[in-house]
């Protein structure tokens, strides 16, 4: 075991994979000589060379499309979007080529797309988004979103081993804020949910950076026993774990940092309405960013992103229901 930040855990997974499997390569903008905008791939070009740690042209569609091509002839490319927001420029290759190829042609596309996502640092409308729901709606793409250092490493190993396109949502705000004990070497975290804290009066369902917000908001809620369920994987969505938490807690707050409409939490909410109606002791409550672009100025950004106070208030109201 070693103590690592969330960022170090991601770097560690990449390094271990590059050492273990010569099919693995990393490609993206400024990831080689510069080591990546967030330094996730710092120093890797020295160890693995410029062909396996590839500084690409500034072209997101090409990064995804070339990764697909390399994958179908036997490589395991890991693409970095410098910011998850830029995946919009590679959306077509991801959704129409990578996502549909196995279903149509029986040809697997084992690519991992790392997507530094999320707000909270005045990144503004183009460096703060949480685009995970875009991919949930596109068949054939898996989506994972770790909240801890241990899961960041384990989920990235699993994503690279997976024979399908996987969007790996790594939250920028967690990079250096979250630290934890991380196992050495290669291990896989399953694409299933995890109970971050067990409870029985209410469950907060969250993923990524919002897991920590949920834990803080509910650590002292007038003695209420609050469960926090960390989804970890959005596709596949761990329906059993969600329904199990709802059955035990009967009250549910669903938390997304993403914009409210059609967010991952909307799917969770629909699932509960369809399959756990009889287990509920109150309405499903959602907390998410309202449907506006994430603004730049700190007071504006803080007014939009879900925070500890908003979540605590939502939980209190539901507990009183």
């Amino acid at each position: 075991m070693a103590t690592m930040t969330y960022l170090q855990a991601i770097s560690s997974a990449l390094r271990d994979e590059m050492r273990a499997d010569e099919r693995v390569m990393i490609m993206g903008e400024d990831i080689g000589v510069f080591g990546g905008a967030f330094k996730v791939t710092d120093g890797m070009i020295d160890e693995f060379g410029p062909e396996r740690v590839m500084d690409t042209p500034l072209a997101e569609s090409a990064i995804i499309g070339c990764a697909v091509g390399a994958a179908v002839v036997g490589l395991r490319p890991v693409c970095e979007m410098q910011f998850s927001d830029f995946i919009s420029c590679g959306f077509d290759q991801l959704v129409n080529v990578a996502g549909k190829t196995h279903y149509r042609l029986g040809l697997a596309v084992p690519i991992t797309v790392r997507l530094p996502s999320g707000g909270g640092f005045s990144g503004g409308p183009f460096h703060s988004q949480n685009p995970e729901a875009w991919f949930m709606h596109a068949p054939g793409i898996k989506v994972v979103a770790p909240s801890t250092a241990e899961d960041a490493k384990g989920l990235l190993h699993a994503a690279i081993h997976d024979p399908n396109p996987v969007c790996f949502m790594e939250h920028k705000h967690l990079y250096r804020r979250v630290k934890g004990e991380v196992r050495e070497g290669v291990y896989e975290t399953p694409f299933t949910a995890r109970v971050a804290r067990a409870g029985s009066d209410l469950v907060v369902i969250a993923y990524g950076a919002m897991v920590d917000v949920a834990l803080k908001a509910t650590e002292d809620l007038e003695g209420a026993s609050v469960e926090v369920l960390d989804l970890r994987s959005l596709v596949p969505l761990d329906e059993d774990a969600i329904l199990d938490s709802v059955a035990r807690c009967s009250k549910v707050v669903i938390l997304d940092e993403a914009n409210m409409t059609c967010a991952a939490g909307a799917q969770v909410s629909a699932l509960i309405a369809e399959k756990a109606f009889e287990d509920l002791d109150g309405p499903v409550v959602r907390v998410a960013s309202p449907d506006v672009p994430i603004p730049f100025s700190p007071p504006l950004e803080q007014a939009v992103l879900p925070n500890v106070d908003r979540v605590r208030e939502a939980c209190r109201e539901l507990l009183d229901y």
Binding site: P57, V72, N96, L105, K142
Partner: protein, 363 residues
Amino acid sequence: MAMADTARQAGTAQADPPAAHGGDGAEHLTQADRVRLLRAMLQMRGVEERAMSLYRQGKVPGSFYDGYGQEAVSAGAAYAMAAEDRLCILHRDLAAHLIRGVSPTRIFSQYMGRAAGVTGGRDGNVHFGDKDLGCVGMVSMLPDMMLVATGMAMAFKLRGEARCALTWFGDGSTSRGDFHEAMNWAGVQKLPVIFVLENNQYAYSTPLDKQFAVDPVQRATAYGFDGVSVDGNDAEAMFEATRAARERAIAGEGPTLIEAVTMRMHGHAAHDDMKYVPAEQVQEWKRKDPIERQERRLTELGVDVEAVRAEVAAELDAAVSEALAGPMPSPDHVLDGLFCEGEPELLGDGEAPWSGFATEGDR
């Protein structure tokens, strides 16, 4: 003939080409090769004519797209590709599928959405590629496959393999960003990829003068590699340009843009009466028919082209019957296979009938 199972390492020589036969850039083609090119074009036209008839009978769902008059582009280019090369084939390039080894029965089944189709009914008409024959099926967002081909070439270069990737796309595709991104990436990394620009004068109804302000073949220079313009209605010229491009590619000399100048002789799809095309333009190109051209050449060499035609027609009639007898896919499995489970199957090698790929013992 033998097919190479494993990629040759970069720098090793190919088998010597057969002796020159002269005429129309055919110095690397034996008479059997030249007949094979005709045969591929006849198969393509014959398959598409029969499929159009099946479409009119209501047996082909959706729409129907063909490459009538453009047969030389895919036949000639695909014929220059080795077994271990990889192809992304476009919707007017049926001859490439036929050369790689997809049977006409499977193609008819594909058009009709039947279980025996290449995609088993999961995708329609020309949206297919047989992975076992080294082809990745196209998507409708053109020219997305330029990037997939570029990525395959990137992997070949990274592993030091003497292989190349080839993809086709149209004049309309040159307007999209993926065209630029692929050309630029391939130029920067000097990749073994061949881009065949099928300039058939119209993107749906849009003529060339609304598509680009410069001759698109000039763009190759702007991206740092060679571009050549070829008579796209001459299968042997297409073969020769592609053969030369492949030779450069596997020698590490980078990509080539081949502009195949041709004409889309039918509408964009079956519903399109092509009223926007001047009649004289169609008449002019009718005189340049690629199949008639190859037949004239072979007749001069004493080949019985009527016999080739008859043989192809018989093969295709039998294939139609066989495809019609096949079942539709079962909806029971419509949700299967979204994701791959277990170790992925990679692309296999396709057929590569050119005599230049044959080993000494096979000739």
